[in-house]
Amino acid sequence: MSSSSPAAALDAENLTCIRDDRTLFSDLSFRVESGQALVVSGRNGSGKTTLLRTLSGMRMPDEGNIRWCGDDIYRLGSDYNACTAYVGHRDGSKLDLTPLENLAFVRSLGDPNPDLQPAQALATVDLAGFEDVATRNLSAGQQRRLALARLLITRAPLWILDEPFTSLDTHGIAIVEELAHNHLVNGGMLVVTSHHMVNLDSTAVIHLNLSA
């Protein structure tokens, strides 16, 4: 499945999520197509992270379906996982490995992007020169950029990003926005939560406010 496939779309149908007897959101439907970004906003505790974890397949929705290219994501299983890249609150990098080893590990388990080697991905997020430093010794912002470099080394068309701008400086934010922009231009899809205004081409952006 390549990222330019015209039929690629993520459909959410009547999603309901209940957490600790509290309904976070109910009857939520949306469609994200190739080249589009879904920007999820809402107050703290409004269910943004839960929605993203549900879309990634980690958590079952309490009601409703999620479809990828028309098929239920739980039926697709690992085929769906190969199409998504998730960066959550926690970076998901091993602190005792070097950035290069971390990326090589993700690359070898995923659907590798043949055009980009781990070292190039590091250079893209401005981490060139840090290939052989233990990840533990990088700053919080650098660790965040390493986590985002993971998006580039597999060919996953759907990026699911939970607060990607946390601990990034303005330069880092610009880098990530450019990555997201290029991804959308190349026919990728993006689901993102952020308190920071996401600078993306407005025609491609769908806004979803969970507090509304």
């Binding site: 958590r59 690992s78 602190l95």
Partner: protein, 227 residues
Amino acid sequence: MSTAPLSHAFLILFKRDLTLAYRKRAEIVNPLLFFVLVTAMFPLGIGADPAQLRDIGPGIIWVAALLAALLSLETIFRSDFEDGSLEQLLLCPHPLSILMLAKVAAHWVTTGLPLLLVAPLLAVLLDLPEEARSTLLITLALGTPVLSLVGTIGVALTVGLRRGGMILSLLVLPLYVPVLIFAASAVTTAGAGLPVSAHLFLLTALLALAVSLSPAATAAALRISLS
């Protein structure tokens, strides 16, 4: 789609965990030290009567091995859970049970195998008869992987809890009892010069059962814990 084949995924994760263990060598030593110290304290506590030690030696070594395994269990997922890489494993396009098997295998190599290597010394320390020593090694080789495999299910269930240690022991210890009974009695029986093949077959059966069922159970438990 061109993801790596299964055996490849197993090896990649196995190698990653061994690399990580090598970089945190101090953590590997903990269960090993516990095993040696507990066993070495017994002769000091109950007196150095060789006949008495020979009688209770198999039990002591096995109980110490079991507790050492329990002690090391929590480390299998803790750092992966804290840094978020456990979520990433859950979302990577490979069967979670194969990845779990790789994690348990790496965990056993770094925590179970060292016990096996020092056990001959402890057998001498407790004056186990010559015939019982090889049986001790065989039971440890068959039994400690079962401890790791079964324990991992419990860890997967309690990984999200803040104080999971107590619940983990309560969950896992009853499941460890069959291994303890058959393994310790095999060593005692061997010391008496009797055949032990029945015990060893039973342990092998437990191992086969654990290898085939535990990864799937661990994967299911992990999905619940992380959802």
